[in-house]
């Protein structure tokens, strides 16, 4: 409580110092500051506190780091961690590759270009849970459209969501289908903004289509790549809704990711433990994305 009482004083001090340099009166900052403090700062501090307690929503017993110890002992956690990484890398990798290829295709002179652009983008607009439920039906091992189509040409399809070997990857593929439209749009914007002069110069030098793509489009679309990688990596690391609506982490625990492990702890009423899990997830995402973003952006400046 003491830290909470002290913080407004520090805040006020900072505001006063900055006031010298701005044209706005101090109270202009107040509404935003209050909203920020109430909705973001306070919950962050509170969650750090509750992650150190055994919490029943009405009372909290301080138990030190026991929640973190318990969370890391969670037998499914290691698998959840590995799955989260696989999921994030697979989805973000595929979104980069497919998004770039689609971006190149949809900026070239093809017929019905605008129509195709919107078709690629449509899945982004659909609700994730709706997509999950639809694909669950399509991927049913015996009655689903996918395996029935495969059966028609004589192939026995696997249990996409029920075979522990495929469940996570199946969900990742659906995630890519749904999210690639956004990556494509970012790439289209990136590619369109490349000045035509470079392509003309490359043409005069006698570069082929592949060379132009490799030496002009790819390096000059790097800002788009950075954006797509970071957005889809963060999205992949904290992904939950699609996995929950398609497999609920199953069969068993085989497609559990950190977010679904945390949700299950919350559902079971282990509020302190699930809060500790969220703190772990926050640290993990920060640990991965901050250095990645720094490295990618530094290269961009170096260029």
């Amino acid at each position: 409580m003491t830290s909470l009482a002290a913080s407004p004083a520090i805040g006020a001090d900072r505001v006063r110092r900055r006031a010298v340099r701005t044209v706005y009166p101090n109270w202009f900052y107040l509404p935003a500051a209050v909203i920020y403090a109430v909705l973001f700062l306070f919950p962050t501090v509170a969650s750090l506190f509750f992650s150190l307690t055994r919490w029943t929503l009405s009372e909290a017993t301080f138990i030190g780091l026991d929640n973190f110890r318990q969370f890391f002992r969670e037998p499914f956690l290691i698998q959840g961690l590995v799955n989260t990484l696989i999921y994030a890398v697979v989805t973000s990798g595929l979104k980069v590759v497919l998004g770039l290829l689609l971006g190149v295709l949809l900026t070239s002179e093809i017929i019905a270009r605008d129509y195709l652009r919107s078709v690629v983008f449509f899945p982004v607009l659909v609700s994730t849970v709706g997509v999950g439920i639809t694909f669950t039906v399509l991927m049913h091992p015996t009655g689903g459209l996918i395996n029935q189509s495969l059966a028609a040409i004589g192939i026995e399809g696997p249990g996409w969501l029920t075979d522990p070997r495929f469940a996570l990857l199946s969900v990742a593929l659906v995630d890519v289908w749904k999210g690639v439209g956004l990556a494509t749009v970012i790439y289209i914007a990136g590619i369109v903004s490349i000045p035509r002069d470079y392509y003309e110069a490359a043409l005069i030098d006698g570069a082929g289509a592949l060379q132009r793509f490799w030496n002009v489009t790819l390096p000059l679309a790097r800002p788009a790549t950075v954006t797509v990688v970071i957005l889809s990596l963060i999205g992949g690391l904290r992904s939950f809704d699609l996995i929950w609506s398609m497999t609920r982490g199953g069969p068993g625990f085989t497609s559990d990711v950190i977010a679904s492990v945390i949700y299950k702890q919350y559902q079971a009423g282990f509020y302190g433990l699930s809060t500790a899990g969220n703190v772990v997830l926050f640290v993990l995402v920060a640990l991965m994305v901050v250095p990645l973003s720094a490295v990618l952006n530094r290269r961009e400046v170096a260029r």
């Binding site: 049913h140 015996t142 069969p251 068993g252 625990f253 559902q267 009423g269 282990f270």
Partner: protein, 431 residues
């Protein structure tokens, strides 16, 4: 000034009115509105609507608003959150047994120990809604059994007998498979349906190790190290290894399972008997073909039923109309309410109100179930009613064991680890 004075005048006039109302209270009894929170299972809703309708007809000054919530884990979330934020409403329905213990009854519920209708309630139910020596609930709906639903027609066609031991059960399965039918239906898309081999085996566990529940609560006995308790996990793995499951077991749902059983596509479906309601809705013609037997163990002489208690009706201590709420609960605990429920959803099992009786003509599943209750020592409550310790991940673990992803011994050990958190959260001694 004038505005201020006018407001004051209005206030005092209002107070006067209120006083007048208070004085003439009984004569001009104002209508009280109670909220009743129940789960959204079609059976629960149908039964509750019928009972509430009759209650409101008998008590015109009390209006009851039924509100529904999802069942399962999402329902647990809602109840726990609404209790702690004081938004649970007046009267609510929730599980008895270990889940009841987890929502802190002493803090949130009205003590119903001294209500006159308690004399008419079976002690076996009172035990599972008691915390700290006080009774907090009344039973709603009927007791259930956990065991195997089977297709009687298929049994008759193949000349099979109801198995009393696990070996007989597996021998039956072999014959069913040879006849080209699915011996054991499993539906892991609805993960909760996977737990019956373990949870429904508890009669056999307590028959072999009578002190298991007590030792388990005190952190002295474990599933992994008690051979009798490990059996449930092993049985689940056995039926998978023998190839007795339906092909789409990983993606099938509870409804799929009942459809397969009703159509005779599959012979056995390990399930709770409350499934009768869903069969009645979806396949009313099949009800006469479905029977029930308890999960068989090693010893035919010691075979018996693992029983589930119905959920309880509780009153929130934040309610502003406790007297009206008590009237509603008393009505729900009466014979009249049992008969109304039977009229609404049919007879699904024995009621926990002593004066209630089932009609003479009940479906075979219910008479099979009743036979276990009628036999002395033929039924014992499931583990979750004799111990507050129940891990949240059992359904995922049994899915893994039942799909061959994890061995039974590892599954049991993992479950022992899982319950530890629950015991610690409840602050039980010895954990």
């Amino acid at each position: 000034m004038t505005a201020h004075r006018m407001r004051l005048a209005a206030l005092s006039a209002g107070a006067g009115l209120a006083l007048a109302a208070m004085v003439s209270g009984p004569a001009l009894a104002e209508e009280v509105t109670l909220s009743l929170l129940i789960d959204n299972g079609p059976q629960t809703v149908a039964a509750a609507e019928k009972v509430v309708e009759a209650f409101m007809a008998a008590n015109p000054d009390i209006k009851v608003d039924i509100e529904t919530r999802p069942g399962g884990g999402d329902g647990d979330n809602i109840v726990k959150t609404r209790l702690s934020t004081g938004e649970i409403g007046d009267v609510f329905l929730y599980n008895s047994g270990s889940l009841f213990q987890q929502i802190n009854p002493q803090k949130y519920m009205v003590d119903l120990t001294a209500e006159p209708w308690q004399a008419d309630i079976q002690p076996s139910f009172q035990n599972v809604v008691t915390a700290g020596g006080k009774v907090y609930g009344a039973p709603f709906q009927t007791a259930m059994g956990g065991g195997v639903l089977y297709n009687k027609k298929l049994y008759a066609d193949l000349g099979l007998q109801v198995p009393k031991t696990w070996a007989e059960f597996m021998a039956n399965n072999e014959k069913i498979k040879a006849a080209g039918k699915v011996p054991v239906i499993q539906t892991f898309k609805d993960t909760w349906t996977s737990q019956l081999f373990v949870l429904g085996d508890f009669f056999n566990v307590q028959a072999a190790v009578p002190t298991f529940a007590e030792d388990y609560t005190a952190n002295k006995a474990k599933f992994a190290t008690t051979p009798a308790a490990l059996k449930g996990f092993e049985h689940q793995a056995d039926v998978f290894k023998a190839g007795y499951l339906n092909k789409d077991f990983g993606a099938a749902t509870f409804d799929d399972g009942l459809r397969m059983l009703a159509s005779g596509e599959g012979a056995h479906y390990p399930m709770l008997t409350f499934a009768l309601g869903a069969i009645q809705t979806a396949n009313p013609d099949a009800v006469k073909d479905i029977g029930f037997f308890a999960l068989p163990g090693d010893d035919a002489a010691k075979n018996g039923l693992t029983a589930w208690m119905p959920p309880g009706i509780y009153i929130s201590n934040e309610s502003e109309h406790v007297d009206a709420a008590k009237k509603l609960v008393a009505f729900i605990a009466s014979k009249e309410a049992c008969d109304l429920q039977t009229a609404a959803v049919g007879a699904t099992g024995p009621y926990l109100v002593k004066s209630c009786a089932l009609p003479a003509d009940v479906p075979p599943m219910v008479s099979d179930l009743q036979a276990y209750f009628d036999k002395q020592g033929g039924a014992a409550p499931a583990l979750e009613f004799v111990s507050p310790v129940k891990g949240p991940s059992l359904e995922q673990i049994t899915v893994e064991v039942g799909s061959g992803i994890r061995s039974p011994a590892e599954g049991a050990a993992l479950y022992d680890e899982d319950v530890k958190k629950q015991a610690q959260q409840l602050g039980l001694p010895g954990w």
